[in-house]
Symmetry: C2
Subunit: 205 residues, 2 copies
DNA sequence: TTGTTATGGTAAAGTTAATTAACACTTTAC
DNA sequence: GTAAAGTGTTAATTAACTTTACCATAACAA
């Protein structure tokens, strides 16, 4: 075990391994090898062994990895052996889709509140939630101790909302707005921007 | 200009630069520097200069970059100086959100057809489109010469649909299903999986 | 039991890729 | 004419990946 400093690039691969392992587990598969897992996710077996061995010896020589055991370990490493509360800001189409998505729970997350600044949307039901006004955002989030947020507001509003979230104590933001957010170094941001992903592929067409 | 072999990681940063430049341009800003752009997107000035200079000399010493000019060049490099037709497969919540999203057009993409295999959804209107049955997918896509697709079907169906898309001649897939797709090497895949992004951040919380 | 095969963990070496730093040169402002 | 700003480029440095090799263990077949 080498707890010193794990490169972020390795952390980024762990969810991919987890995703595949979870699917194998659902299919009733109990055991896999770095070889097999690698073929599924498109990563070399050596890479996978090296990544996993950063955190301990979770495999068995000769037999491979016991999937439920490895999943437990990965969940614990990524701290998703619990369920994280997440605030959703922006009740547009994307907000609706995320609020209604059933796939978060099994992977360690649940949306617990939804905000929007549009008076027409406030009070409306989105998924299982009543949309709250943005004016109550900071206080509500702080009181609930929520540390993660998903941001699905228009680009022009995104930075302001991000600033609010940071003030409210949020430490991780999943940003759907097509704009790079500026946040303090102790706050993590991940971007989801379908147009950027598409543009990345057209280069090769 | 060094057209030999540009690393994929550089290609992946170009859309981020474009996104920021497009926003600056909308605000009426005509000129920027690697320094300023770097602060906006959180990437070092040296890195930006190096990335851009892979493709030519688009800046002026002493003055920086003319934003409309640089944008044109980047659009041309990423081949989004045209509008790409995109097929959307999966008319669930996420499919609806994407079909109605207005932000693709300005960045080089337009959805032109929507498919689902649910008889209840076929014929329904999603955004400006009538949902078509999956059985017509391969033929319709091939006839229209569509090369890109967005995949918002459940994980269990994703690989089968991807196989269909590949058969139909699609060369780039934006996959929203939480599963790693296996496709031939000449087909590009990008994954969008919010739970993975969230898991990547919880490690640091 | 014994040999064989499959497999993970580790380490070393080599290779490639990515990032950062440094600097010469150009342009603009004054 | 001089200082400041800023690029493009090269060099230096660091990081990531790949390859290879080897050992220890486990499962299984003879």
């Amino acid at each position: 075990m080498n707890a010193e400093k794990i490169p972020d690039i390795i952390i980024g691969r762990l969810p991919i391994y987890m995703r595949a392992l979870q699917r194998m587990s659902e299919k009733g598969i109990q055991t896999t090898s770095s070889q097999e897992l690698g073929e599924r996710v498109g990563i070399s077996a050596a890479q996978i062994r090296k990544d996993i061995s950063q955190f301990g010896e979770f495999g068995k020589q000769g037999t491979g990895y016991h999937i439920p055991f490895l999943l437990d370990k990965l969940r614990s490493i990524l701290k998703v052996d619990r369920v994280w509360d997440v605030a959703l800001v922006g009740a547009g189409d994307m907000g609706h889709a995320l609020a209604r998505y059933q796939g978060f729970r099994d992977r360690g997350f649940q949306i617990v509140m939804v905000f929007d600044n549009d008076a027409q949307k406030v009070g409306e039901k989105v998924g299982d939630f009543i949309v709250q006004d943005m004016s109550s955002l900071a206080e509500t989030i702080r009181k609930a101790g929520v540390k993660m947020a998903m941001l699905t507001v228009p680009a022009v509003a995104a930075q302001d909302v991000a600033d609010e979230l940071v003030k409210a104590g949020v430490k991780a933001i999943l940003n759907y707005a097509p704009i790079s957010l500026n946040v303090p170094p102790d706050v993590k941001v991940q971007h989801i921007d379908p147009a950027s992903h598409l543009q990345r592929m057209t280069y090769y067409l």
